[in-house]
Symmetry: C3
Subunit: 661 residues, 3 copies
Amino acid sequence: MKIPYGGDYNPEQWPRAVWEDDYRLFDAAGVDTLTVGVFTWGLTQPSYDKYDFAVLDGIVSRAVDGGRKICLATGTGAHPAWLAASHPEVTRVDFEGRKHRYGARHNSCPSSPVYRRLSTEIARRIAERYAGNPAIIAWHVGNEYGGACYCPICAAGFQEWLQKRYGSLEALNEAWYTTFWSHTFSDWSQIEPPSALTEHWRGPDHTAFQGITLDYQRFMSDALLANFCDEKAAIREFDSSTPVTTNFMGLYRPIDYHRWAAHLDFASWDNYPPDDRSAARMALAHDLMRGLKGGAPFWLMEQTPSVTACRDVNPLKRPGVMRLWSWQAVAHGADAVLFFQMRAGRGASEKYHGAVIGHSGRSDTRVFQEVAALGAELSALGSVTLGARTPARVALLFDWDSWWALEISDGPSRLVRYLDVVTAYHRALWTLGVDLDVVPVTASLTDYDVVVAPALHMLKGDLAERLSAVAARGGTVVSTFLSGRVDEDDNAFLSDVPGPLAGLFGIRIDEWDARDRSHVNPVAIGAATFPARLIFELVIPEGATVVGTYTGDFYTGTAAVTRNDHGQGQAWYVGTALDQAGVTSVLRPILAAHDLLGPLADLPDVETATRVAPDGTRILFVLNHGPSPAPLPAMTGIDLLTGAAPPARLAPNGVLVLRAS
Amino acid sequence: MKIPYGGDYNPEQWPRAVWEDDYRLFDAAGVDTLTVGVFTWGLTQPSYDKYDFAVLDGIVSRAVDGGRKICLATGTGAHPAWLAASHPEVTRVDFEGRKHRYGARHNSCPSSPVYRRLSTEIARRIAERYAGNPAIIAWHVGNEYGGACYCPICAAGFQEWLQKRYGSLEALNEAWYTTFWSHTFSDWSQIEPPSALTEHWRGPDHTAFQGITLDYQRFMSDALLANFCDEKAAIREFDSSTPVTTNFMGLYRPIDYHRWAAHLDFASWDNYPPDDRSAARMALAHDLMRGLKGGAPFWLMEQTPSVTACRDVNPLKRPGVMRLWSWQAVAHGADAVLFFQMRAGRGASEKYHGAVIGHSGRSDTRVFQEVAALGAELSALGSVTLGARTPARVALLFDWDSWWALEISDGPSRLVRYLDVVTAYHRALWTLGVDLDVVPVTASLTDYDVVVAPALHMLKGDLAERLSAVAARGGTVVSTFLSGRVDEDDNAFLSDVPGPLAGLFGIRIDEWDARDRSHVNPVAIGAATFPARLIFELVIPEGATVVGTYTGDFYTGTAAVTRNDHGQGQAWYVGTALDQAGVTSVLRPILAAHDLLGPLADLPDVETATRVAPDGTRILFVLNHGPSPAPLPAMTGIDLLTGAAPPARLAPNGVLVLRAS
Amino acid sequence: MKIPYGGDYNPEQWPRAVWEDDYRLFDAAGVDTLTVGVFTWGLTQPSYDKYDFAVLDGIVSRAVDGGRKICLATGTGAHPAWLAASHPEVTRVDFEGRKHRYGARHNSCPSSPVYRRLSTEIARRIAERYAGNPAIIAWHVGNEYGGACYCPICAAGFQEWLQKRYGSLEALNEAWYTTFWSHTFSDWSQIEPPSALTEHWRGPDHTAFQGITLDYQRFMSDALLANFCDEKAAIREFDSSTPVTTNFMGLYRPIDYHRWAAHLDFASWDNYPPDDRSAARMALAHDLMRGLKGGAPFWLMEQTPSVTACRDVNPLKRPGVMRLWSWQAVAHGADAVLFFQMRAGRGASEKYHGAVIGHSGRSDTRVFQEVAALGAELSALGSVTLGARTPARVALLFDWDSWWALEISDGPSRLVRYLDVVTAYHRALWTLGVDLDVVPVTASLTDYDVVVAPALHMLKGDLAERLSAVAARGGTVVSTFLSGRVDEDDNAFLSDVPGPLAGLFGIRIDEWDARDRSHVNPVAIGAATFPARLIFELVIPEGATVVGTYTGDFYTGTAAVTRNDHGQGQAWYVGTALDQAGVTSVLRPILAAHDLLGPLADLPDVETATRVAPDGTRILFVLNHGPSPAPLPAMTGIDLLTGAAPPARLAPNGVLVLRAS
């Protein structure tokens, strides 16, 4: 038992002779796991009434013969050309109202009955054929589900979804506030998908009716989930136990992964960070993925060993970076480390995407050597981290509904982006070295000492009560500007801002200013001042203590940051977008008060993360993301990668996997 | 009798209990006038053959019971969902050729027979029901008419409009210069709306045939006007006297408000300036609106008390600014001061738009307090300004045809924007404190000493003669680059530039240079030099005196600014885009020569404006838009807001309403 | 015999009286050649079954009577309105999938049978009518062919074109690498034009399947070529000898002019450079055009005498620039100098486009005077340059397939643009004063000492062997990053980068980095360092000598520039985008070694070019593009423009036409 290592492998693109080269190189690199079949629908069903598994049989057999474990895909990452030609309904209508024809991938209308029937059928046949093969350790359904469709079939599906949600048009009209702009619907059939041809006026985020757009996002996420569930159910007809997953995309807005999570047996995701300064962001995404299944380990399903292809500029991962980021994934809960892709394709849009084996088939490249070295490390590590969990006392709330509602809102500011706020608060926690869980707003908060809820725009269910309970029992709650504004239907609360949270924070907000990015109003917190930008809520204390004040404009001296005693704990509110140092300065004393500062909190480039194995073994990962060697304090334990005690300095890109001694 | 004060009120969005809160707060704020029913079509006609006025009855009754005056809307600001569903023809086809379905507002095809019939009918029924109610002081038709439709019904309407305009295809082909690019039309039915699918190549301003595009703009303005006239005629069936208006949008390009003006009983408009440095721009817009009806007072139909919602960034009006801008409107001719909106809606795209009463319903907010304070001031002021007119001796020509022709022109420069030129010349006049009228090119010019015609690209009718007459009798005419270029059909004059104006200005122009914004060619005027940009006409004097010369490039020393004696007066020509100081330096001596400099012309941030009441009372408004207190010279009169003599200093955002003593 | 001088003339836009003015001014300007009829289709065929040549007869007669030579167009630069109305198939479907209706120009679907039949017929009738008129010196087919259509007729045409190219779907699937993303086509009818509705995801350059998009570009270029060939064949029915051309657009990506060239009797093009710093770029375009027909002279079919109209900003050609650029064209092989246009149109989108005769009809304008002066010079020059050829020993490879393949590639960098690379290498050669040919990759290379192949992304046929042969016999080959990557189908070579060129250059490349424009990695070459940007190939010498090394990042000290001895010559490889000085520093010693540095290589603003007349007369053109007088070394010969010996200094915009004495 060890961490599965390998990745996406498409031998159907190559003659058999190349396969033999591949397996020789897999051996050299310690590759034990192959994801196969992700785009094989056209291969396994070459026409409407013909199925042909000869090639896939060969691929599976060769893997079995080679002693590999298999993550077997259903192949529905893209539909075949014949299907689009014979059943045009399977292609999507886009946001601009344009009916697409055959091409690309992610191209299936999720509501199309033909698509649903045939994608289910191919999954069923594959499961029927390969279930029971002991090499198969997971089923991989679809691929990077995403996008949206606005076709008439989806419109009907939306209407049906709305009937289930609202029961009556009266309820729907009230939820959508349709009296505004004479929008009352008198028949379900009048409801259109919100698009450039209906409610939207400057792209997907600019809508006349937020409620309609918000519900369509929810519907489309559910519609795509139904596709996943279709295929999973078909697999379960033949295999009751092998886990089923699909590869997520981390911080991906269109799909509410929290709503999907219950339907996956384990989470997995593809890590393609925007740039090489993304260590904190990747940590957030890993924690979000781990949080999908209540803290259970996930798979790193894809990462590039070297370069991406689809970006405008595709920089190369420097030496050591692929290893560092692989270990970061493990540190945050990954129980598999997989690449896209094992061998570089010759043609089409990913021919320049990095691969373990390049076009020349060499094993003496830097990239192959690094892959092989990591393979050896993972083999040496063995099973110690498998199933380990993160012992977090801090929760960061993450909510797709708030993400959507905030970013489709007209006013106060389009410049406030949900992820910017969340990542600022996460980065502060990450820099301060605390282990944290990223959880949905429905998660139990009873185990956390600190709960951070940035830009909690929409407040649903009993969350206000549960947050109050955190403070009441001695915990600390932190929230920010633009929280507590709207209910589940995106209708404003008819009370003081921040709505049901006003009491917890001991404040009210009557007005707020928004300004361009260039406008700065420094906020004084104690002896320090921090630039604040974009939005400035004029916070009126109603019991809270003023911690930070604006130093400019007509509201100079009024509250920007407050702290309210609540029960045995506290609730902090930050009414403006402080810069990163400002956010960190707010969070540091809070963590300190709960004794939650990380062991290396003063080394901002050095990340720490803890996992506790099922047998109780506690493992501390230490990763140096900085450009310089980091001096380490005396630390106990043994580095599982070297078998030695931890060194006094950790090299750039260096990794320690310390088992408590 | 006093200035009506209040604004848009949508109680149909609320339960009755809230209405009572509203009226209590209206009392507290001195609100006496409510605009109701702007988006009630779906409410009053819930299906094709059903009308239901119960809610609107209640709204009107409650207002009457509360002693309010009513501006009653026909409710056609948006059409109902059932109408789009049952009659898809009512929705528009956009510039990209996309047929829209139900959504948003401003969504009706103006040419649709069903839309025209039903919108007229709802106006008729509302007029029938409510005409004679003494609380109704105005009818409000539609809402912010605008946009454009490119559907087949509009295409047919366009062809019909063209037949009326041109009489024959021969005349049309000549006007459109269709011999160019083999474009001769041999049948009216061949003519398409100019769009992204026909003549346009990079958006609405880039057309292969300016004549076609120009005529479509004229047609569409007329088509929307017909919708207004439909409803007005229906109202007039039941009410022969109460004035009818619709709310304009100030400097709004798509609609030629001059062509509409004759059909309105009074002008009204919605003032949403782009930023808080817009004092001069708002003054221009107010003067333009006043000029629509020959100087008669207009209504400020909408302004926000605090923030907008639809901008990317929606800054807050600082304390005092709402009051200052309200008085500015009155200073320029407003006889009503109204807000959008009285109570903030809960949902959809304007839930964050500012309102007199916010979501929490408080009266102790800063915004409510300022609204109430202004209400008290207006009540105290009483009727003195009602019906007052502006005694202007300066006219600024404003022409939608020139606006359109200039901005759809290929060459010389897309960077020259009509409003930039107009606002530069207006700002200079405004800074210099002169009262001015903004008038159409058809206006009588006989009462003006100075006529300024910036970027008078298109020269129509007898305007050249009338401008010459101004100079001949001792007045001064000022024009600029890109004037006198084309005739009514956008065909170049076959004579020296500036066409029929060449004689008046005593110049000719053979060539012109255009350069990027970063390129500066300083112009020397007397001892000073001013940066000039974008376009450089090489002005050849043919009798004119050279006032300013270029100091750079191969045309160094040639004329950029000229003055020509004509009769007893003068004609000035400015051949390049001088910076603001340059424009002001040209206009200052002209105003001085006519003894027209304002009393505070040396205080650039302090605006003055005069109104003369029907009884001859002369009122001088003084408004400080600057950040600092302004020292005032000794001024006679009494400040109607305080009852005191004018102070020695005027605070920032300060307002004086001085009645000559 | 002299250089034809004149240009596009559209008297059909004017009454006859104006024609007489025109001819008087033509006489004054030395205009002897008129291009007529470019947009006359609607005039000569006013309806489906009616042809009317009365006006065109008059135009031709008047030109003949005036003693002018005629370049007679078929008039198909735009189709008539009645054709689009009666046969909607003739209009295009655009990349976004939108069916266009009548408007603009370049508006015909090249595959439409009706369009093909009628455009051929009008060409046939014009040829029939005017063939044999001795004034006609050339036929001008269509106008600036370009753009693309994505309609169903083109889809069928594409499928047919593919069947011819590939023979079988098996071959097509392999070429397009369709196993990737399950794209296997099982019927030709499944193949769609690649567009925003099928394979593309962010505009025309972002495709999921490069092979499909690449073939569509090839197909569309061929489809438009077929239109040209249709008309040419019709002309040839009546005129077997007068040369036929169409006006190209220089560095125009959508059409592979190399594939077209064989079908033209001579090349001609329209020179509208992007700005007034385009001397080198124009030289490249001239040389490319000359290279189309193996070095034979071409026509400068259009240039503006003063300004363009369609740009956002249309700057004026400074005094002397029109003359300088006209002579530059001649220096590079032009045997005609023609303007667009002779008289400025009154209306539509080119009314502000520069013309020899402006709207006022004056002859005392600067522009007219300069045109007349050049006319006199050309008359004085006579026939000496006619038919002269350029004696080049340097070849620059230019390849539309590489252009397309590079710019539609996903990865490594969208910031690398083919023309940027080509123009950098061309500019270096141009600055160094060497005469060069710009040739297709299929050209014979046996006559060249130096062959420069920038960004030779796609390597086709036996080119690798022919390049090796250049070096083998003592020549020098230069290539750059991103060369030798893909085969004719855009599939990566399964060998070391740069593929079949690896041996010639003695290198291999395993990995490459790409970075934003702001990122610089200086390259050390000898004692100098040069900034390098965008892409950094890590070059591993396999026999080559390291000439330049990176000085930054983890690959510091590794090879960026290499030189490999091959046979008696050398092959240089530049693995990164050096700045202009860096490129020049690489090429200077290479030219020097072959004794190919120009006589004025140290005067960067002074261009030289040589032509050798059929009688052996050698003419050296010297052109000063700089802002200052250039000191000239002692040069022999006589300046044909002055009859004097060459001066010691050449004024800005100055031109010498030196005949060796």
